[in-house]
Amino acid sequence: MTVLSLRGIAKSYGGNTILKSITFEAEAGEFIALVGPSGCGKSTLLRIVAGLDHADHGDIAIAGRDVSRVPAADRNIAMVFQSYALYPHLTAGQNIAVPLAMRRLTAMQRLPLLGSLLPGQRQICADIQRQVDEMASSLKIDHLLGRKPGQMSGGQRQRVALARAMVRRPSVFLMDEPLSNLDANLRVHARGEIVDLHRRAGVPTLYVTHDQSEALSMADRVAVMIGGNLLQLADPREIYDNPAHIEVARFLGQPKINVLETRMDASGVVRFGGLVLAGENRSAAETPVMVGVRPEFVRVRADNGGMLRARVERMEFLGSEVIVHTRLDAIGGAVTIKSTPSEAASLSTGMPVGVDVTPERVMLFGRDGERLAAKPIGMMTVLETANG
């Protein structure tokens, strides 16, 4: 069942286009990560879904109801902010109670002193208190309820912010980089917790982050946004292994994917060193293309074999792996290789080496960055004297 659907959302600020017609849908219980470099429009998109900003064009529907013109308070969404946005003058317990009190108590009932005299107020307040306590114990923050945000650590604040968002079963959960203010250790731990909470609550979640590993590790589906465009929305494995666009391929993966420029002949054949790929050339003329291969699908060999000849420029020892930076002799492009310490043991800077790629893992991209279909039709070892 579709819980959230966006259709053609576009937004610009004073001539700057922030979002160019974003369309996608989220299913019940789904966790979608919106990921992209800063300034790609992901936070703006989240604010538009929340109702804090309004789109110039396009519609938003939540649970089948068009909410494009509905104010934030009536969209039944909850949001966790990057700075947590806890009210500093209220205790954790009071912070968690705010969304309930705002909805269940009338303006009169919320007045200090006078409110407590009105009929029904006591009953509702007790009910709210019970829900806050339940929420707190499920997040294990019972002991924090009496503290103010200023007296809590970053991790504790983040949990209180989560509790405030979850306490009133929203139909969509929005998170704007909720982990970016935590230190590295806590961040990895909190990832697991948020995924866990999401599974238990079953509320569809839009999660904005600039951290690709967060997106890949937490989400059911990852949406990569670059320059106001939604380039691809797919599950983490698919989006990593089969990026639809060179920018997606470049954005995901550490170290970055190797991209080398070459040409495709009129018949659709691409030759790169010893590698031969068959693609489809629609223009029927020689066109420039890009070949991409992730560092883990490249191997370095100390002998004179391999499809490409290269020279070691620099090595980074990272404990369980070694990143070898090489430069291709004939073509001049840089190739980064994820290697093992044992493989790299025999290498040294400046040394000529051979480079092999896993042919099935090589991807072809057109000049505009779009992915092109290609399959390897041959590979051969290039000899020392051969040209690329």
């Binding site: 929340a50 109702g51 104010p71 308070a73 909850a78 902010f81 700075s83 946005a85 103010k148």
Partner: protein
Amino acid sequence: MASVATVDRFAIEPAAREARVAWLLALPAIVLLFLFILLPTLAVIVLGFTDFELGYAGFRFVGFENYAELVSDRTFLRSLWNTAVYTIIVAPASIILALAIAMLIEAETRGRAFFRTVYFLPVASLLVAMATVWQFLFHPTIGPVNAFLATFGIAGPNWLGASGTVLYGLAIIGVWQSVGFNMVLFLAGLTAIPRELYAAAQIDGAKSWFDRFRLVTWPMLGPTTLFVTTISVINSVKVFETVKTLTEGGPNKASEVLLFTIYQEGFVYLRVGYASAMTVVFLAILVALMFLQYRVLDRKVHYA
């Protein structure tokens, strides 16, 4: 033994030199501070226990005689009362108006600079001069204020000339003059509120303007409001310029205020000892107000 001493000497010397330089740099300030603030403050307290009068050679200590006289001095009591009334009108009015104007300006996208300039203009104007203009505005027969009221059929009072209205007239000038100052402080306070808090409030269900004000604006402005309140109260207690320029405490001592009474006693009648006792009372009021700010209210508005 000798080597230990050497090490010690090297360790102490830079610190001692630093302290000496520090003393040297601070010396002019320390000397002037004693000369023009601490010594005169002590002197005023001492003088308060004497019958010193300028022009007479000697003086003697009279204990609490001056204070005993103060308690039954109708002019002084009147001026305390008037100062209190003036403060109770001017401080809240200038704070509430300033906050309202600041919030209206903050919500507006255009014309912000213009409105800020207009409301701030009285702060940068010579008060003695503008008081003179107000005197004209308030003139019972030719003043525009009463002429304006007359177009609605209201017979305006003799604002600064009648004992029943003179304090209100002065209070209007006081509010007009101090709103701009408070407003810029509130504007700074409003800009410092994180936007995300308003977003959170919207999502938490604060639909109306008043809900957001109560949930975010008012609590977040706490420190600013406390500071503005303290400053406004102290400045109101220090009212002098308008009284001296426009009413000289009159009519019938209806606008006698604390500083004006001290000025009259001390610098016109030259009863320095007696005026010093009044000054000590004035100083005690200031200390009490500051104490109130720091001890009682400060805890409630800082959330860290």
